[in-house]
């Protein structure tokens, strides 16, 4: 009868005996070393500047410096909330952000799904390239094109008049503002935005489609039952990333599109900060408004992330 010799357990070096933090750190030191640049980046360029947030509570002047500038408590926040137009601007920001989410977010997904259904690769590439081109235009050019298109003498009005209607001053009428804003945004970003979904679509197992085809599934049903569920994690991730920006809308586009008669629906917190905080160099005020926006965006992101995790199992963390 053969006896199996059991190998005596190797003795671990003294520093590997315990399972403590420092032991683990040492055992994975190469990985942690590689982590240092990333950590340093975040510490220096992301967390470090947070120190500067204290100017939101000061009457900051660059010529006095952060330390010497006097503390004024929450006066900058009171100033913001006391502004008679604040809630109007807040509502406008939310409306533009939510509309961008509702209309602007699904547009590249739908476009990617349509492109995915085109069987001729040449045609598909032409559409993809053409849709991607506006991405290279600056926002100034995009807005100029749309203001021209929607001007009284523009193409849209020429069509309206040709169809027997009366020319409309789209750019000056508040009720048309969202149409111009959202349509220009979709036109400029639909191509570039669809790339990530096309990449996700290329990873869907083709055998699933073949099996569905044998079962007599229609193309539309295949999209609904196979394609969308397969790219759902990507969709959810992109959605969560965009949700964080609902309240933080870059002011450049609004600055180019709004007119005095549309200010009531177009003026957002970002443009207000630009006008009063940036051009008037009221740094403390701009910091206070930025802090307010960031806190609100973080809250929205946390809530949405929790809901996404609960409903789809996918989340950012």
């Amino acid at each position: 009868m053969q006896t199996t010799k059991t190998q005596p357990a190797k003795r671990l070096p003294a520093h590997k005996k315990g399972k403590g933090f420092w032991t683990k750190l040492w055992s994975q030191r190469a990985l942690f070393l590689m982590l240092i640049p990333g950590l340093a980046f975040y510490l220096v360029f992301r967390y470090g500047p947070m120190y500067g947030l204290n100017i939101a509570f000061k009457d900051y002047s660059p010529f006095l410096g952060v330390e010497a500038s006097p503390w004024i408590g929450i006066k900058q926040f009171e100033r913001l909330f006391a502004n008679k137009d604040f809630w109007q601007m807040f509502w406008n920001t939310l409306r533009v952000g939510v509309l961008s989410l509702i209309i602007g977010f699904p547009a590249p997904i739908i476009f990617a799904l349509i492109l995915n259904e085109i069987r001729k690769p040449g045609v598909k590439k032409v559409y993809q390239t053409l849709s991607y081109l506006p991405h290279f235009l600056s926002v100034v050019i995009v807005c100029s094109i749309f203001l021209d298109l929607f001007s009284v003498g523009g193409v849209i009005n020429k069509i309206v008049v040709a169809l027997g209607g009366t020319a409309i001053n789209f750019a000056m009428e508040p009720e048309w503002y969202d149409l111009i804003y959202q349509s220009s945004a979709i036109w400029a970003t639909i191509g570039s935005g669809s790339i990530v979904y096309l990449a996700a679509l290329s990873g869907v197992d083709q055998q699933l489609y073949e099996a569905a085809e044998i079962d007599g599934c229609s193309r539309l049903k295949m999209i609904w039952k196979i394609t969308l569920p397969c790219i759902l994690p990507t969709v959810v991730t992109m959605f969560l990333l965009q949700v964080g920006n609902v309240i933080r809308i870059a002011p450049d586009k609004t600055l180019l599109l709004y007119q005095p008669s549309t200010m009531n629906v177009a003026d957002i917190i970002g443009t207000y900060v630009y006008r009063v905080g940036i051009t008037m160099r009221s740094y403390s005020y701009a910091a206070a408004v930025g802090l307010f926006e960031s806190v609100l965006a973080a809250v929205i992101l946390f809530i949405t992330n929790r809901i996404a995790k609960w409903k789809t199992g996918t989340s950012l963390w």
């Binding site: 070393l33 750019a171 008669s261």
Partner: protein
């Protein structure tokens, strides 16, 4: 092991790279305080006044320009010759300059001499009081800038205006441009050739103005006879002809009170005119979004015939018509200035405004900078910076006409001050603080001369004095002005476009009084 060492090296290098960019930059203006060289004596023991006490000192001078102006620019060599000071220019386009200005302030890293650009008076007054800029009213400083002092302090008339801009503590940080305004710089312009073709007499008042527009519309039904770019600014300029010298803040010289220009009945008369023009399609419906190039295009293509614009547009449009795309010369096209409507007066342009100008950095080189500043205000400096040096960059003919032989002109082209900027660095934006009347800027084209003559004939409606907001109210003053501007601009555009009447007007006047009346109480010292 080698991999680990490699990883370690890589990590160290990347961290070092990250921090390398964070080191404090050496400020170009750093260094010890530069003092004037001690006075010297000649062989006989007589004191020789040092004419160039800052010889060899380099100062940075920031400005905006459409041209790339470098350290070799002719003007800078003249400054060096006169003062011994070497100019290191910092030149950007205007949009970039305004951004850079924000950056210099935010980082407390100012050039030695800057043009205030879009820096508001309340801002540079605040930063000046914190030590950023030199107080030009300091007696010791005034001693160093005798030419500046002669103009603004010693002349009682000038001092009366200049002193309006002083801070509550009596400081003044901006060195203003002096006496360089033309008498008429913006006014109504019209296509004289079309008026003649249709037998329309140039207007003499508001009624005949409207009648002329109606005749033009009748002859060119698809046109919009009246047009303007930058509608808010041009509406504001036209308001002077309706006894309103400011839209947000107007000043009544009789009662010596500030009031809201946009709520005055005089301003409503102008709004009614714009409303009629809009309603009858006498005014371009795109007037709120037009820029100067679209205005030019519409004037050149018979889509518009009358504009409220800068008088320089006449030369631009007349020249453009003279060289159309087929190379044919259109001699008939002719834009000329028109008479003012309303009260029949043009805008009165003041000799200067202390609300902006050149700012001297408070630092080790400030004395050298002040020497350059004072040279720009001197008879010699102002002449060289705006006209040049005879025999060097210009020649005079027997009639006294100045020409610049180094500048090649195309056929039909006339010399402009922008050409002098491009070629010699003269007429730098913000730096023509004093100019000679011999300069080509005042060598009017026949049409511009007509505008000046019309000004002399019709007279001017007075502008407003310096508006000083007490420091106690400056914290959120910009917020109120922003909200006020938004409210009235929205109302004005709707009044014109939607045909508002008495009910909307009365509500607007009441709302403005309720929401912003306190601002006028502050300005009028009632708070």
């Amino acid at each position: 092991m080698i991999k680990r060492i490699f990883a370690l090296l890589l990590a160290v290098l990347m961290v070092a790279g990250l921090f390398a960019g964070c080191g404090e930059q050496q400020k170009p203006n750093g260094g010890d305080i530069i003092l004037p060289k001690p006075t010297q004596t000649d062989a006989s023991g007589n004191v020789i006044e040092n004419q160039k006490p800052y010889e060899g000192v380099t100062i940075t001078m920031a400005f905006y320009s459409n041209y790339e102006i470098d350290a070799n620019a002719w003007l800078f060599k003249q400054i060096e010759e006169a003062t011994g000071i070497i100019i290191e220019p910092i030149c950007y386009t205007s949009a970039v300059y305004f951004e850079k200005l924000g950056g210099w302030i935010a980082t407390n890293d100012l050039p030695d001499l800057i043009t205030s650009g879009n820096l508001d008076k309340t801002e540079f007054d605040k930063y000046g009081s914190q030590g950023a800029f030199v107080n030009l009213n300091d007696p010791e400083v005034l001693e160093m800038i005798p030419n500046f002092k002669k103009i603004f302090i010693d002349d009682p008339d000038n001092y009366a205006v200049y002193s309006q801009y002083f801070t509550e503590t009596g400081a003044q940080y901006a060195a203003p441009s002096y006496d360089m305004n033309r008498d008429v710089n913006h006014c109504l312009l019209y296509r004289e050739d079309v008026f003649k073709e249709l037998g329309i007499e140039p207007w003499t008042d508001t009624d005949s103005f409207l009648a002329a527009l109606r005749k033009l519309k009748q002859a060119y039904p698809t046109s919009y006879p009246f047009n303007a770019s930058a509608w808010d600014q041009n509406l504001s300029r036209m308001a002077y002809s309706f006894n309103v010298n400011g839209l947000e803040f107007a000043y009544d010289h009789d009662t010596k009170q500030w009031y809201s220009g946009v709520t005055s009945n005089d301003f409503r008369k102008l709004l009614d005119l714009w409303q009629i023009m809009y309603k009858e399609k006498l005014m371009d419906p795109d007037v709120f979004t037009n820029d100067s190039s679209t205005i030019d295009a519409k004037m050149l293509t018979n889509q518009s015939f009358v504009i409220q614009e800068w008088i320089g547009r006449m030369a631009v449009e007349n020249a453009a018509a003279a060289t159309d795309k087929d190379g044919k010369v259109d001699d008939s096209f002719h834009v000329v200035p028109g008479a003012p409507i309303g009260n029949g007066k043009y805008i009165e342009l003041g000799k200067f405004s202390g609300a902006g100008g050149l700012l001297v950095k408070n630092g080790p080189k400030q004395n050298a900078v002040l020497a350059v500043l004072d040279w720009l205000y001197s008879d010699e400096g102002s002449y060289i910076a705006s006209v040049g040096v005879e025999g060097d960059n210009y020649v005079k003919d027997e009639n006294g006409k100045i020409t610049y032989p180094d500048i090649t002109l195309k056929e039909g082209e006339v010399i402009t001050y922008q050409m002098l900027t491009e070629k010699y660095g003269m007429w730098l934006d913000g730096y023509y603080v004093r100019t000679s009347r011999d300069a080509i800027y005042y060598d009017y084209t026949p049409e511009e001369k007509m505008a000046q003559d019309l000004g002399a004939k019709h007279g001017y409606y007075p502008g407003k004095p310096a508006m000083n907001v007490p420091s106690a109210y400056q914290f959120d003053w910009a917020d109120h002005v922003d909200a006020y501007t938004k409210d009235y601009e929205e109302f004005v555009t709707n009044y014109i476009m939607k045909g508002y009447g008495d009910a909307e007007w009365n509500k607007f006047v009441s709302d403005i009084q309720k929401d912003y009346g306190f601002m006028f109480d502050i300005l009028n010292g009632k708070k």
